[in-house]
């Protein structure tokens, strides 16, 4: 970061900048900024799912002119969509934010990892979990319902009148599938045990996670670590590809910034091609910028390959509207929680899903 700040200052001698850098995880950015917008950083990095609430609070500035053009020209359409609210662009995407599947090659082989059924059916030692089910606050849970063709607020996630169709026949089938999966003793459950601990003992077959934990698992498993696109599953007699939520991590500018021009210029600088390449070299964040991701180094990277494959084949744009973000995370996450606690059983799936849909739409 300091390196980038110096480079920017060298490029723009007209600005007299006092740098102040604060480290906040992209997932917590919204919280930090909304605490006091006037006092928050001029330029901040955030995960695109927080965009609606930042826009709603008037905390993030719309981007126009060259910056807007740069975002539109250098990113894939699906990536641009993650930083767009009502046709206005608010952020500069710099890396992909989605998850894919890691697996332990000593437990599962390439023929197993194509479907969840095969993963679960694999004969493994008594104390080995074949699969790690994680809801991640609903983020990874969505893959099952979206995979089966269901959606929240219509296919593009912005049509509030479309409602939520998770309580139809397919939704019931998916939920029944999840009940079996979560209650299966060979499936470890979200947060009850750490993946890295299990992986260290070769006790976990496959799990979903993102590129940010790649180094951790690589360090534990070394060459035994496999990576694949998330598998298919079969809740109702047909194989469906699981579809993970896709978002981006991006750079935004505080709407209350005192030096808007400088802040926008710096954000643009941070998000440009060279700095995305630099960020890839220094911290292995796969560039969202299309030119940057075309570079030889990125192309040769297996992690980048899988991430891009996942984005193309097994992901769905994460809905970005404030109603979705206010409700989905809490209520969707109660589905696996209640399955785990025994509140949702095969007898009351319909009723519970009706409650869920009502909570999402009322």
């Amino acid at each position: 970061m300091a390196q980038q700040q110096e480079a920017f200052a060298a490029e723009h001698p007209e600005y007299n900048i006092t740098w102040k850098t604060e480290i906040v995880g992209e997932d917590k950015c919204q919280e930090a900024v909304l605490k006091d917008v006037g006092e928050a950083a001029d330029v901040f990095m955030f995960a695109s799912d927080q965009l609606p609430s930042l826009v709603e609070a008037g905390a993030i500035a719309r981007l126009g002119g060259n910056t807007e053009a740069m975002v539109k020209e250098t990113n894939a359409e699906s990536v641009v969509a993650t930083v767009t609210v009502d046709d206005a662009i608010y952020g500069i995407p710099f890396t992909h934010n989605t998850f894919f599947m890691f697996y332990d090659k000593t437990i599962l082989d390439e023929s197993d990892i194509v479907s969840l059924e095969k993963i679960m059916a694999k004969q493994t030692a008594d104390n080995v979990y074949n699969f790690y089910f994680e809801s991640a606050g609903g983020w990874k849970l969505g893959a099952y319902y979206y995979g089966a063709g269901l959606s929240v607020f219509g296919p593009d996630g912005n049509d509030l009148n479309a409602g939520v169709d998770w309580n139809n026949e397919t939704g019931v089938a998916v939920t029944n599938y999840l009940i079996d999966l979560i209650n299966n003793p060979k499936c470890a459950y979200d947060g009850e045990i750490s993946v890295s601990e299990l992986a260290g003992d070769h006790r976990i077959g496959a799990w979903f996670d993102g590129s940010w934990n790649y180094d951790l698992y690589k360090g534990i498993l070394g060459d035994d670590l496999g990576m694949a696109v998330i598998p298919t599953f079969n809740p109702d007699g047909t194989d469906h590809q699981l579809l993970g939520f896709y978002g981006s991590k991006c750079i935004g500018v505080n709407a209350k910034s005192q030096n808007m021009a400088a802040a926008v210029a710096f954000a643009t600088f941070l998000g440009n091609e060279e700095n995305q390449v630099l960020r890839y070299e220094l911290s292995a964040q796969i560039p969202a910028n299309m030119n940057a991701s075309e570079s030889e180094a990125v192309k040769a990277d297996p992690l980048a390959a899988i991430l891009i494959k996942e984005s193309n084949e097994a992901s769905v744009a994460q809905p970005a509207n404030s109603v979705f973000s206010a409700r989905y995370w809490t209520y969707a996450n109660t589905i696996p929680t209640e399955i785990r606690s025994g509140e949702i059983t095969k007898d009351n799936v319909q009723e519970k899903l009706d409650t869920f849909v009502k909570a999402m739409t009322e």
Binding site: G58, A61, K186, M260, I335, A359, E362
Partner: protein, 464 residues
């Protein structure tokens, strides 16, 4: 005698002795004007410094009001009218934002202005009283205190006012003003959809309270179950710790028990570990893959990858939490009850034994009443403490398992942890304020009623 003396000769040596209505009624014209032109009565009678201080305070107040305060009061009533504006600057190619009104600041400055106004009214009364006091002294031909005398009096007869003024100012600034601010939020629409600075919120009257109690609404469907679990938890947590702590103390205090000091030491050891450390390690111990489940697996009680849902099943979670709380709370009760037990006169027991009373009778007729007499106020405080026992719930279960039937709450959430979620994660500050007010009302009524019924309150000084 002292009281009589004071009443017999009203010496108006200090302004504090005259009531405000009295001063206003009996005062002459100058005194009356002094209520509005601060310090006039003092200035006219050569108490220049005192008069100037009053006058300066008034001028300061009016300058504040004219430059800022009146606008702030206007904003306080509307809570802001202008939303943030967005303008595209062609030349720079950026969007620029004009600052709109910030409802939160409008509310805050409004409260501060109101408090300052109350302060000005108070100073006005002080000024009137001071003028009246001077008037009476002149009428009686007594010498007028100079400013030096006033300063000296702060060290002597007005020492209490001098010493108390600092804490009182502190309490007003840091407790009363924020408290008024928070209470007022309960009557606004300051929720996740109305976040300043981008959006304005407004006054909604009692709507939030209505939503909390209206039949069939999601909020009411959360409030009542959460409230009932809060009360169940508070009763169980308090009673279990009290009874078990007392039993333990009795056991150790029994005549036949050897090495009493050692046993007490053993049980008090758990107090030496900070509470949050105990709670966090308990959370790990009872985790689905924690030591307890692992041991049960090794023993073959449950399958190799099965687990007992200590924190994930609502009923199990509630029981687990109450049990863990016993572990934390019992040593404290044991310590305090031991002190009380040792304080019960031995001759009472001897007399009872001579009369042929059995051990249970002695416990019921002597030990328990004695304990309850001393411990009831303590029980009430621990009950109220448990209603607001944020630590235990938050660190053990985090309020979970979450429920989709509730409005952003879990099955083991207390009102106070629900309040935390509503404000910190959900940003529904208005609902948080409503819950805060309701918790206060519940606690205040419960504890006042029970406290007034205790032996300790009704019969202060008596023992049985």
């Amino acid at each position: 005698m002292g009281m009589m003396k004071k009443k017999a000769q009203p010496a108006y040596s200090r302004p504090g002795d005259a009531g405000i209505p009295q001063a206003f009624k009996n005062g002459n014209a100058i005194t009356k004007i002094s209520f509005f032109v601060f310090g006039l009565g003092n200035l006219m009678n050569r108490q220049i410094v005192r008069g100037l201080i009053f006058l300066a305070l008034e001028i300061g107040y009016f300058i504040y009001m004219i430059t800022f305060g009146i606008g702030a009061l206007g904003d306080f009533i509307t809570l802001g009218t202008a939303t943030q504006g967005e303008v595209f600057n062609e030349a720079l190619g950026i969007y620029e934002y004009s600052a709109g009104d910030d409802s939160m600041l409008c509310l805050l400055y409004g409260v501060i202005t109101l408090v300052l106004t109350a302060g000005a009214v108070f100073i006005g009364c002080m000024s009137g009283k001071s003028a009246y006091c001077t008037q009476v002294r002149i009428e009686k031909g007594k010498p007028l205190p100079t400013f030096k005398d006033d300063l000296r009096s702060l060290k002597e007869e007005n020492l209490h006012a001098f010493l108390l003024s600092f804490p009182i100012i502190g309490i007003i600034c840091f407790t009363i003003v924020p408290l008024i601010f928070m209470i007022l939020i309960a009557f606004t629409s300051y929720d996740h959809e109305h976040q300043p600075p981008g959006n304005l919120f407004s006054w909604v009257g009692l709507d939030n309270f209505k939503a909390m109690f209206s039949q069939g609404s999601k909020l009411a469907g959360t409030f009542w179950p959460v409230l009932s679990w809060t009360l169940i938890w508070a009763v169980f947590a308090t009673v279990s710790c009290f009874l078990l702590g007392m039993l333990l103390a009795l056991l150790i205090n029994r005549k036949g028990t050897k090495a009493k000091g050692f046993w007490r030491f053993m049980f008090v050891l758990s107090v030496a570990v900070p509470q949050f450390v105990t709670l966090l390690s308990m959370r790990t111990i009872f985790n689905a893959n924690g030591p307890v489940n692992v041991i049960l697996r090794q023993l073959g009680v449950i399958g190799m990858t099965e687990s007992i849902p200590f924190f994930t099943n609502p009923l199990y979670a509630k029981i687990t939490i109450i049990c863990i709380n016993i572990w934390i709370g019992v040593p404290f009760t044991m310590l305090s009850t031991t002190g009380i037990l040792q304080n019960i006169p031995a001759d009472l027991y001897e007399a009872a034994r001579i009369d042929g009373a059995s051990a249970p009778t002695i416990f019921r007729k002597i030990t328990l009443p004695y304990m309850l007499f001393v411990m009831t106020p303590n029980l009430i405080t621990s009950f109220t403490g448990n209603i607001n026992n944020f630590n235990v719930i938050f660190l053990l279960s985090g309020g979970g398992p979450d429920s989709m039937d509730y409005y952003y709450a879990g099955k083991t959430d207390l009102l106070v942890t629900w309040l935390y979620r509503l404000t910190i994660t959900q940003k529904d500050y208005n609902l948080g304020a409503v819950i805060g007010i309701l918790v206060f009302i519940i606690l205040a009524t419960l504890s006042l009623i029970t406290y007034r019924r205790t032996g300790a309150y009704k019969d202060e000084g008596a023992f049985q």
